[in-house]
Amino acid sequence: MIFDILFYSALFICTIGTFYKVVVWIKKSVGYENHLLPSHRFSSLIKGLISTIFSLRFIHLIQSLFIDVLFQKRILKTSTLRWGMHLLIFIGFIGLVFMHAFDAVFTEKLFPYYYSTVNPFFFLRNLFGLMVLTGIGIAIYRRYYLKPARIKNAPSDLFAILIILAIIVSGILLEGLKMASVSEFTVMVEDYAGLDYEDEDTLALETYWVKEYALVSSRVKAPFGNQVLALGLEVHETNCMDCHSPNKSAFLGYAAAKLMSPFAILLDKINGVPILYYVHILACFLGLALVPFSKMFHMISTPISLLTNAVQNKDKLFNENMMTKQLMELDACTHCSTCNLNCSAGMMYESIKNDYILPSEKIQMLKKVVSKDQLNEKEFKTLFQGLYICTNCDRCTVVCPSGIDLKSLWLSVREKLLAQSPDMPFILSAFSFVRGLNPMNVKTRDYKAPINKAFKTTTSVINKTEPLTIGIRENETNFTIDLPPVNTFSHCFGCQNCSTICPVVASFEAPEEDLIMMPHQIMYSLGLGLVDMAKDSAMIWNCLSCYQCQENCPQNVTVCDILFQLKNKTFQNFQDKGQ
């Protein structure tokens, strides 16, 4: 009765939670908006599903079910160790759920002679348990001991490990204590064999069980007489053997029983068996209830992500189901850090220490954005920096074992943040190259606004800041530097070669108006100590970095390098301002 109440409550929470998640997938959005109503998104989703099922793509779906979902090829591609780990947990857990947890539903129907204590089921239960344990062991070893650079551990990862560990360990201990418990033995003897506990036969059987079945009894002690054992075996064969394979075949439970043997009598007296039973089922039900709210939700979302990406048209970066898909994909992330290990911007993370440069951490943050909607200014800036310091190498997408289309997600979220707050000078860096190719087909107005704003901001930042000194820069990590040779601008004798040869200057009819200052004027200003004036120039943001100026300077002024340094300073000021 209590079991049923607990089980159905957990199942109810799990179902409601899953339903809530699906509603969030359809209702919320994390990327570039297309302002579709949830009802429209729902009907698009259904249309998409139906059109997939009744088309040739259905074959791809079935193929992907075997290769990606069951065989988990994408994990194998990135790491054999992780694949082994995941497959052990996956097969072990599925085995336990179907064969053991739902034995009344599945195993008994398939095998009419099923008893949980009869082989092969007795042995298999332990084998599955061992598989899960080994898998969890590898997971702990990888995450907390091996800990490759840029692997990230979150509380949710620890919870997932602990809840599985709790389920399996409590199960093994329960099985072990049941073997060792004399009260369990007595109940079985009286109910099933119809023997009286005080009978001579019972004592013989008990002796045999103490010797062979890890039972611990206060009235039977070694050494055992051969006659008694022979009688015990006879009683065992008549009454018990049909339903009890040797306890040794349940090797984990048997080992647990042997380990607990010194305290078995005490544990038995304080009702250890029912206590462990409740610990075990409560751990199971807690895990079940929390599935939609924990990392374990990937059991549902990751297969959906893998299957969706197997049939999705990759060339079409934007369609009606995009927003729904992106939300679903956030839930499909298992926080495995494979993306981080392959991220091209890894060293930028190491130097800047902004977690959101790493793909897995961006996902974590975006999950928060979905549930919270509002970020404070600092969070927003940090997230944006993380999103923008990305070379669009697409490696995260290629390696993601959950098959998440991260590439499109980043492009889309960047546009959303830019539309919300276009005040982001990062857009004036070479990281914007892919945005310039505009794979998202962002509307012209949305595309232009942040660039125009950034051009304005960079000059206003300059006007408000303290005078800057070229060549000296220290931040809190003491790691930021200017590259020597510094101050080469002081060698400038004003020949204007740099501005004459500059293709940017040549592109404007009135460069002194559009660019505010030309390269030679910037060098003059720096020479006069007018650093602010130099930085006000739009020239530095329109520099192609083609190095014509520097190459053709008769005085070896590092013109182009200096423009880079001026840009660096503006970004530095912008970040400092936010802190």
């Binding site: 091209s344 310091i389 190498c393 329109n542 192609l544």
Partner: protein
């Protein structure tokens, strides 16, 4: 001959035909290439924001390459320029090198400074040599005029990049000529393609690109040849986008150098990815002369 191959970020993601073609050509020439999955960004885009971070990113790649004890071959000119720039600064400034190595040490890496960085074109021109290349050419182009775009980040600052003579670069022309094509003389061959400003000032980026393209067209070019994914994307993807927008049909197709070379070496055009461009360059094959070269 053995090299460690540096692909960078753009090629695998957006210009896979460049690596396919380069690998096919190298295979024909007996060049063994070792790819390193752990390579990261060369640092090029980061230099805009923070030069130190740029150096760290570049140095990690150089440290990994050093472990291979082979020269490093780079396909992208911007990656090449970045890595050479980083190598130069880390050699000149020991104190910065130490700071960089502190960060690298976390992954048990150290950059010592003993790596030779070469661009793909230099490997062909210097290490293989024109003579051996010519011997591998099976058919030649006839009446084909190519505008060879040198690529600024490889060319300048020449003191650091050591790619070619900055005033009169000839390396790329030599490589074009051996295919039978004419490497035309054009005034903007060493100028920027405009890619560094794409996404920042698109009008200016377009203006710079169009000046260069019209200069090449005026000089009679049938195609513009590049050996850099940035230039390629600029001349292929960006040019085609603008042409579509304007309904312009007067485009100039971009051909990656290993594609140009690959065809005369007898490599299949699908291996070279000739069909995967946004601006169709299939007509390139029609310039191949029918008669096989007499040895």
């Amino acid at each position: 001959m053995n090299y460690t191959l540096f692909l960078g970020c753009n090629i695998p993601a957006r210009v896979p035909q460049y690596q396919d073609a380069a690998k096919a050509v190298c295979h024909k020439l007996g060049i063994d290439l070792t790819p390193i999955n752990e390579f990261m960004c060369c640092g090029y885009p980061m230099r805009n924001i923070d030069e130190f971070v740029f150096l760290v990113s570049a140095a990690r790649n150089l440290a990994l390459a050093e472990q291979q004890q082979k020269d490093l071959m780079v396909l992208c000119k911007c990656c090449y320029g970045s890595l050479k720039m980083a190598q130069f600064h880390l050699k000149e400034n020991q104190d910065i090198l130490e700071k960089v190595n502190i960060l690298l040490a976390k992954e048990n890496l150290i950059y010592k400074g003993n790596i030779i960085i070469k661009h793909f074109l230099t490997v062909l021109h210097e290490d293989i040599g024109l003579k051996k290349l010519k011997a591998k050419v099976k058919t030649k182009y006839k009446k084909l005029k190519i505008a060879a775009s040198v690529g600024c980040h490889a060319l300048r600052p020449a003191k650091i990049t050591q790619f070619d003579t900055p005033a009169v670069p000839t390396l790329f022309d030599d490589l074009v000529k051996l295919t039978g094509a004419k490497s035309i003389d054009w005034s903007k061959k060493s100028e920027c393609c405009g890619a560094p400003l794409l996404g920042i000032n698109d009008e200016l980026s377009q203006h710079i690109m169009e000046k260069k393209l019209s200069n090449a067209k005026e000089a009679g070019a049938d195609f513009i040849s590049v050996a850099c994914p940035y230039s390629f994307l600029q001349f292929d993807a960006f040019q085609s986008k603008i042409a579509k927008h304007r309904g312009d049909k007067e485009t100039l197709g971009a051909v990656l150098y290993p594609q140009l070379l690959g065809l005369v070496m007898g490599i299949d055009s699908s291996t070279l990815g000739i069909q995967s461009h946004q601006i169709n360059i299939a007509s390139l094959e029609s310039y191949l002369s029918d008669e096989t070269k007499n040895e």
